[in-house]
Symmetry: D2
Subunit: 307 residues, 4 copies
């Protein structure tokens, strides 16, 4: 069968996601959806203007929810960047009530389409929104996943790698919890040079608090310069989609429902064609567990207020 991906929301992020997919031939059918018909038609046409000069062909469908029925993955990139601008990009929750309404309406349409694939949610605040998508679509919890701190972990790797002058792909480890201000780098999971980074602090003159802040505020740094962020998060979302479609059973840190916390939050899991194929359990320190509980409580409270 052919691969089919839907992208809902063609703002800065959604259009970057779609371009990355088209430019690399990651799907056969691509369904693009946006309330702004002019924008989504414009992007679709622009992709088609790219294709004669690309090695891959992608069939593009616009604003047809029924085409999502047999999609492998739907990527939700809806959002309202204008609202975030009002907070200088510092508070993803300012988007919440607006996005909740959008997500409820979208979920009803996804449900009607008969979609039974995996939802890959970028829309912020992503942990709460992922919960709402799950509740509204009625999809099993393992089939609804948020990109969560897959991006923040990348930012942490970027920050650590820059400090140590190494490839960011040579840094392992995770940021956990909320894709928001209550997240944290679980330093006990971070390994560089074949060692826990905590062993290397002195020798390499590392300030873990600064690095942690750098990861957490990475989005804000990017936001400051262009009033949106797109490349990092689009890459994370497509990596997640590819793991699902190819059923690779990759370990990725994404927002998934953790029973013990009763919420969606970012924690590594094995991802395949059924979504979350297996949850794993890290040996976190007591301090990290407290931070994670704090983050979970924060997400939970926001979800209860908005579900």
């Amino acid at each position: 069968m052919t691969r089919k991906i839907g992208v809902i929301g063609m703002g800065h992020v959604g259009s970057t996601v779609a371009h990355y997919i088209v430019a690399n031939g990651f799907t056969d059918d691509l369904v693009l959806i946006d309330k702004n018909e002019d924008k989504v038609n414009s992007d679709a046409l622009d992709f088609q203007d790219a294709m004669p000069n690309l090695p891959f062909h992608t069939n593009i469908y616009v604003n047809d929810y029924s085409a999502l029925g047999d999609a492998d993955v739907i990527i939700s990139a809806v959002g309202n960047i204008d609202l975030i601008k009002q907070t200088d990009g510092k508070d993803r929750f300012v988007e919440l009530s607006n996005n909740v309404e959008a997500v409820k309406s979208i979920s009803a349409k996804i449900k009607s389409s008969g979609f039974n694939g995996i939802l890959d949610v970028i829309t912020n605040p992503v942990d709460v929104i992922t919960s709402i998508y799950q509740k509204e679509t009625g999809l099993p919890k393992e089939k609804v996943i948020g990109t969560g701190t897959l991006l923040d972990s990348a930012r942490m790797k970027r920050a650590v790698a820059a400090k140590l002058n190494i490839d960011s792909r040579s840094v392992d480890g995770y940021n956990l919890g909320e894709h928001g201000n209550s997240q944290f780098t679980a330093w006990s999971t971070v390994k560089v040079f074949g060692e826990p980074i905590t062993n290397l602090v002195k020798e390499n003159n590392l300030n873990l608090d600064t690095l942690d802040k750098d990861a957490r505020d990475g989005g804000f740094e990017v936001f400051k310069g262009k009033f949106y962020t797109n490349y990092g998060v689009a890459t994370a979302a497509v990596k997640l989609a590819n793991a699902i479609i190819s059923d690779s059973k990759s370990q990725l840190v994404v927002s998934n429902y953790r029973k013990e916390y009763g919420v969606y939050l970012s924690y590594p899991a094995i991802v395949g064609k059924n979504g979350i194929e297996k949850q794993i359990n890290l040996n976190l320190t007591k301090e990290e567990l407290e931070k994670l509980q704090y983050s979970a409580d924060f997400i939970n409270q926001k979800f209860e207020e908005n579900k």
Copy 2:
């Protein structure tokens, strides 16, 4: 040696060019330049946030003209989208005086860097701007190339392919002349189903004038929906850059200096590491030659007014 590409101008087009390059590992070193330091730093950081989740590594340098000295290709994507918006995207010349000033200043800096590679110009109005870049940098004419109607030809292919329900890559042929309103599809060069398209008009119920207009106005159509165009042109510019770097000697329709017209205009040429490696001569019809002359005269007049 490592591949090195510079991108000057990190607006919608330049940042899309850079992302396409980073996501596909097309270069080893990437130099990003923009007057808006916040924007270019933001994009650079965003690319670095993508890299831990990408299979390729790219070294990114920001706002360092001296780093362009040994670049293989510099892609000029400077422009002022606000000016185009005032004309609803219909007149690329509204940008001219603004861009001429920018290009003169940039050329001086490129010259100082000792750059001796190939200039790949997207900046509009591209034919005039390419001339000005050549004049100001003092680079040989064959080393300064505009993306020109590589994009418009793609739009023509997209339009023809949609009408015939085939892959746009299975349409051959060229739009010639100005990357602007005086361009035209040279239908005598267009081949589909192994035949000149002119033979297939009746059988397939084609209206070549409509298709011609569709190609020429394709940019406007895209512009209408989002107030810029980026994916098609970025793909064309990178295709040109890759042909140069890999010395592929590909035949591409790009803006190159044609002695017989005394201007830069789009006409197919063989492109390799020396830029325009060979110019070719099409057997155009009398009508096409007249249209090309008209287009050349138009470009020439604009160049004389602004050089």
Copy 3:
């Protein structure tokens, strides 16, 4: 749904096809089949040893015909290279009776699997074998395709490009008829520098007969040095498979059933998810039509002798 490709026959060609697919992530599920269990298990393991260092994940299944039931494409690369060696690679028909038996047995198994996708046949002599696959599997004629002269056309492009010092992708045109000694370059279809190549013979000092021979004997040239050919044909077969899976409706010169000749032979067609989506008609010269008829007669005779 996920993409699924089967490869039957893991000799030099089949294993190269499989590697090219695995290294580029062109499919999600890959079914490898060979009578030599040791060889196919060895290749499967070798691909899995590559995967930790690859950006793509592929699920590999070995010698399970039932897994072909829902494949998009099956690539037949069975063959007996030892037989060809006896003729110094000059006669693809020496393999025929051996391959016919193999193909009959394989077809029965493909049929049992419930396969309803597209057969992409490399096995030589490809035109006759493709006919036999169609007859034996009972699949509609448009769903059984041979790679045919997609390879020989590439060889012609390579030869012409080398002579003119241009990118082989900048040569258009076709070799037609049998993927064998009765094939020919249809020079009336070949275009370089925007012109029919026949116009450029004098100016560029071309000897079309020599170039024709170069294309036709290209396989023998490669064969001479290593006693098999694999990279060119594997690339052609995968290009065909990708056109099918992505439903690109690309125009490709492949072996397809032409009613007017009553045989499978290579002639350009539009290829998509239904296989041959549309047949096209070239304006061949009288001489080319005669050569094509001769080639068709030859294939037909061989098919009648072996069906």
Copy 4:
């Protein structure tokens, strides 16, 4: 500048390396060298027959040592598979004296070319051969690297991943020492599910000795079925080459000169354009250190006997 890679030795491994590079556009210039002129010319032609159907262009040069002078990386894939066959693939040292002679002769030619890039050595027994290359070419030790256990570590990841039903890329850790029978999996470095694998043995019913043997004997398993191994090692060698060319400073386990052992052996290091950019130090267990010393002693003895 353009990327340039040389491949010396066009047997099963070298030709697979070259094909992987050509099919993915990893280099601009590719220099292929083999004593068997027919074979290398055959492969070069076969690659050129693939190119019209590929999205990338590569310039191929055959048997020209002088063209290696400005190469970024030379990959040594010379070897004598017939000798290994005599031992059923179980002893890489049977090739040694034959390969030492070849390597001495090749080194002289590399030296004459003025090559100052990085040597990426696959030739077995790789640790000893890498030493000999370094001695004979006179290149600094950090500029001569063997692929070593980058392959064996991949085999270990494949074995562990298969047992746990996860993506092999989600297994971290290293095989160390000789790319040969004295190697071992350093289980203290292996992490899955965010934990040291040693914590997960009981819960997941793992037998580390069996898995260790599986990694070490992985090559033999592949060899048994086809009497050579190529895809895994070619992928490793190209991964190393790409890290060098893009100066990614990736942490890779490769054969590099460790002063404390006085030999080349596999141990993780940071790899960039200068070759080994930084050596790292693992916290190995006492038992692992003993195994590593044993492996080093073995390599050293073989080197002394053959230098």
